[in-house]
């Protein structure tokens, strides 16, 4: 049985007194040009990690083309008014630095890490990329052709195909429905489009610079002021977006991937953003359901039944909306059996209160792993960024553990009833239709697609 509690040996040593969890102090400033700056010390290694965020990404410009923010980010690193591509890459190596440019739905970012002794020259390069990217014609053309090959290739990955289909189903005409462009859309990317996205999004007023590492915050702030002060630019106007569709009843979307020797299941429903007051209780409910190794879902379909290696549930917060999803790559023969267990565990959480002991275990897990990020510069940066980008309360990290611990079995049942929308879950299966269509169709009206996203006859 899935959740059978094995006897705990009385030989198991008890937990000793908990040591306090202390988050490093953050120094917060806003420069005259509007750039927000958050700094924190962490002296684990003589390096620092940083990220220059801009509060807009693919979603803001999706009406021009999907993933245009990402393409802009890709080309940003290939040239500035002062440095050609090769120079940029060699300078990074000379500084012992790593740098990446990227964009998601809601943010664009230049992330970087380097040796503390070379902080200033690295920040100079960062500001150059953010301010004076030159979008060289040849570099743009090469990256566009690269992207063409990449979008063909990603359609051969079951994980991508499942994620793409679920997002389309959940978000309809909302920008979040688009996670990748078609070949034709990539072919139509224009250098001028990228430059216009760049001018719109990459401005100090729209920016947040976060750095964590082996430095003195006051001294680092002086360097930042020197390097970033003369940069100017306004925040882009926000854009109205359409509401995601109301989804009624379970439906099944089969992506036919001929020759698959396994089926990727991904089921989901709408949930909430991180700013929502229910976020923490949803996190705990998810953790107990399928977010941890010791969760009900993993114990059931992996450790008890051996259907899958990697079952997982997650809560996916975007800026405007969030969703809940469950995924598992399973043997073709047990697609229906796996879905049955996935829904059984959901429905059980909606029907019966969680036993106190199991709740305490889940609370300990979530509060414990929350502190793991304290040990590395990257971990701290990630936690601090989450707070800043989602405009969470300033004491969010400090109070998180006690808020998790205050939750009760009734809270979890209410949360499952509200957000684990069993009756209206949308089910995506990626696999060979000959082997799985009949099983999948047991769970709702079915639509079948090919890997290019075209509808096939049922």
């Amino acid at each position: 049985m899935a959740t059978k509690a094995a006897e705990i040996s009385n030989l198991v040593p008890a937990l000793t007194a908990e040591r306090p969890v202390t988050w490093p102090k953050r120094t917060r400033t806003r420069l005259a040009n509007g750039l927000e700056v958050v700094l924190a010390e962490a002296h684990s290694i003589p390096k620092f990690h940083g990220e220059l965020f801009f509060r807009a990404g693919n979603a803001l410009v999706v009406d021009r083309a999907p993933s245009l923010g990402e393409m802009t980010a890709t080309v940003v690193r290939t040239g500035t008014a002062k440095r050609a591509s090769r120079q940029i890459e060699e300078d990074l190596r000379r500084l012992g630095a790593d740098l990446g440019t990227s964009a998601g739905q809601d943010t664009s970012a230049v992330s970087f890490a380097g040796l503390s002794e070379f902080a200033e020259p690295l920040l100079q390069l960062v500001v150059e990329l953010a301010r004076e990217a030159s979008f060289p014609e040849g570099e743009f053309e090469r990256e566009r052709r690269q992207k063409l090959e990449e979008v063909k290739l990603e359609r051969t990955s079951p994980g991508f195909l499942a994620g793409e289909r679920l997002r389309k189903v959940l978000f309809g005409t909302h920008p979040y429905a688009q996670i990748s462009p078609s070949e034709a859309q990539v072919a139509a990317y224009k250098r001028e489009d990228l430059q216009s996205v760049y001018r719109q999004i990459y401005t100090p007023e729209n920016g947040l610079l976060m750095m964590v590492g082996d430095f003195d915050p006051q001294a680092m702030l002086k360097i930042i002021e020197k390097v970033f002060a003369t940069w100017t630019g306004k925040k882009p106007a926000a854009k109205e977006t359409s509401a995601p569709p109301q989804l009624r009843a379970r439906r099944v979307f089969l992506v036919h991937n001929p020759g698959s020797v396994q089926t990727q299941i991904l089921a989901g429903c709408h949930a909430i953003t991180r700013k929502h007051p229910d976020w923490i209780r949803l996190g705990l409910t998810n953790s107990l359901y399928g977010g941890a190794f010791n969760s009900r879902l993993v114990m059931n379909i992996r450790e008890d039944k051996g259907y899958t290696y990697s079952p997982r549930s997650s809560v996916n917060p975007l800026q405007q909306h969030g969703y809940f999803s469950v995924s598992a790559a399973v043997r073709n023969e047990v697609v229906a059996a796996s879905l049955t267990e996935i829904f059984y565990e959901i429905d059980k959480l909606r029907s019966l209160p969680v036993p106190e002991a199991e709740l305490a275990d889940a609370q300990n897990y979530l509060t414990g792993v929350f502190s793991m990020g304290l040990a590395t510069q990257e971990g701290l940066l990630s936690q601090f960024s989450t707070v800043e980008l989602n405009e969470l309360p300033v004491d969010y990290l400090e109070t998180y553990r006690e808020r998790v611990r205050a939750l009760t079995p009734d809270d979890l049942m209410a949360t499952a009833r509200k957000y684990f929308d069993s009756a209206n879950m949308q089910i995506v299966v990626v696999g060979d239709r000959k082997q799985i269509q009949e099983q999948a169709a047991l769970f709702g009206d079915i639509e079948v697609f090919d890997t290019q996203g075209q509808r096939l006859d049922k």
Partner: protein, 437 residues
């Protein structure tokens, strides 16, 4: 130049278990690792994939902690856990709030003392492992490329050349008798190292190691098959069909010099010159300049973590309009260039700064967001099991920083020869691409 020094204390229990402690009170978190000196390279013949399957069995129950207890006790203490099987070692590790340290040590000692598993557990994990192989290899574009494709082409000794994830027929043939035999042979305290990192005092760690592990009996010294390869005299090539992917791919692997020799240090910097991201010569030439390839990466995988024959491997996905021959010829231009002209002093200096910076990140770095100090743990374990010298963590950097331009050019000439390499071509099943000769 700031040099990072990691405080380390090491000792050996009477039963031969080595104990390495690296205290650091930055966060109230402790990382515990146990490394056994056995990986998939030396698993039993006729039992390909067994070392990895066995690793799964280590989570299925021990003398006083039945199935699910291990995972449950760690998670419910606020911690995370995992294990992984590599060429020459298998590790089990946990990161927990430091108040759960004793509990972790009790669990690890319990499963070092006695594994208690049944046929049902074995059937269950065999199913799980098969789904792992499907999700990572058989149902993925370029699954297992090149780490599973290369060994049978490059090597002649079964130890280095077999399927490390396991042929399904071999997985099916594995029995509980095999499990207990493997356990008794290799999972003895004198073939392992215990690592305690983070929020722990050295004297406290030493006392706890003694308390929980000292009464586990020492075992016979495990027998290790010789993984040495017969000398390679010709270039080796192999072909594998790509079932899903759209791009033709190839991997080129060169045999590496012996660990910790001057040539090995030089090879590491040559690797950085060739594969160091977008500044690396291979990416720059094939992706950025000639634009033949879509991806070109690779290098020496886990340079400190192996103890037998291994390669520096380049992995290339190229555009369908270019033939394999043309792509390989362009790759060879990069190799010839570094052989004939070497690298400049300026380039070498860049490589050394980057190497040092990357090394610090390795020491600090986690595995995923939630496994702090995985890198430091891994290096301390390998330096203990392979070299009996955990302090190498603080000194090995010197060997890389001492490399000269002349040495880099010499290893390029000596090791990057066709008769020291193997090439695997992985061609899409449905492509109109010209085949390699």
């Amino acid at each position: 130049m700031t040099r990072l020094q990691v405080p380390i204390q090491s000792s050996t229990l009477k039963n031969g278990l080595r104990v390495v402690i690296a205290p650091d009170t930055t966060a109230p978190v402790v990382t515990v690792g146990i490394y056994y000196k056995i990986g998939f390279r030396l698993e039993p013949q006729g039992r390909s994939g067994f070392a990895h399957l066995f690793e799964h069995m280590m989570f299925q129950g021990s003398e006083n902690a039945p199935k699910m207890q291990h995972i449950k006790l760690i998670n419910s203490s606020g911690g995370v856990l995992n294990g992984s099987t590599m060429y020459d070692v298998t590790n089990y590790y946990e990161a927990v709030p430091s108040n759960a340290l004793e509990r972790v040590l009790w669990l690890e000692a319990d499963r070092m003392r006695a594994l208690k598993v049944d046929d049902e557990n074995l059937r269950n994990q065999r199913d799980v492992v098969k789904e792992e192989v499907r999700v990572n290899v058989m149902n993925q574009p370029y699954g297992g490329f090149p780490w599973l494709d290369m060994p049978p082409v490059a090597f002649r000794n079964w130890a280095n050349a077999h399927n490390f994830y396991g042929d399904f027929v071999d997985l099916d043939a594995a029995t509980l008798v095999d499990v207990q035999k493997f356990f008794r042979t290799y999972y003895v305290p004198n073939n392992a190292v215990l690592l305690l990192l983070g929020d722990i005092k050295p004297e406290e760690g030493a006392a706890l190691a003694e308390k929980y592990f000292a009464d586990i009996p020492k075992g016979a010294t495990p027998p290790f098959a010789d993984p040495a390869e017969p000398p390679q005299k010709e270039e080796r090539r192999g072909h594998v069909e790509e079932k899903f992917g759209t791009l033709p791919a190839m991997a080129i692997g060169y045999l590496m010099p012996q660990r910790k020799t001057p040539e090995w240090y030089a090879m590491a910097l040559l690797d950085q010159a060739l594969h160091g991201g977008r500044a690396g010569r291979i990416y720059r030439e094939l992706v950025l300049e000639k634009q033949v390839a879509v991806e070109a990466d690779g290098g020496i995988d886990d340079i400190f973590g192996y103890n037998g024959p291994t390669q520096m491997t380049t992995r290339i996905l190229h555009k369908p309009e270019y033939s394999s021959d043309k792509t390989l010829a362009d790759f060879d231009v990069v190799i010839r260039e570094v052989q004939e002209r070497g690298i400049s002093e300026d380039e070498l200096q860049q490589l050394k700064v980057k190497w040092r910076s990357d090394y610090y990140s390795t020491l600090e770095g986690g595995r995923g967001g939630y496994m702090p100090r995985y890198g430091l743990m891994h290096l301390l374990a390998c330096f203990t099991l392979f070299d009996n010298e955990p302090q190498l963590v603080n000194t090995i950097l010197d060997g890389f920083l001492a490399v000269t331009c002349a040495q880099v050019q010499e290893v390029a000439k000596k090791y990057l020869r066709p008769e020291n390499r193997a090439i695997v071509f992985r061609m899409p099943a449905k492509s109109e691409v010209k085949e390699a000769a």
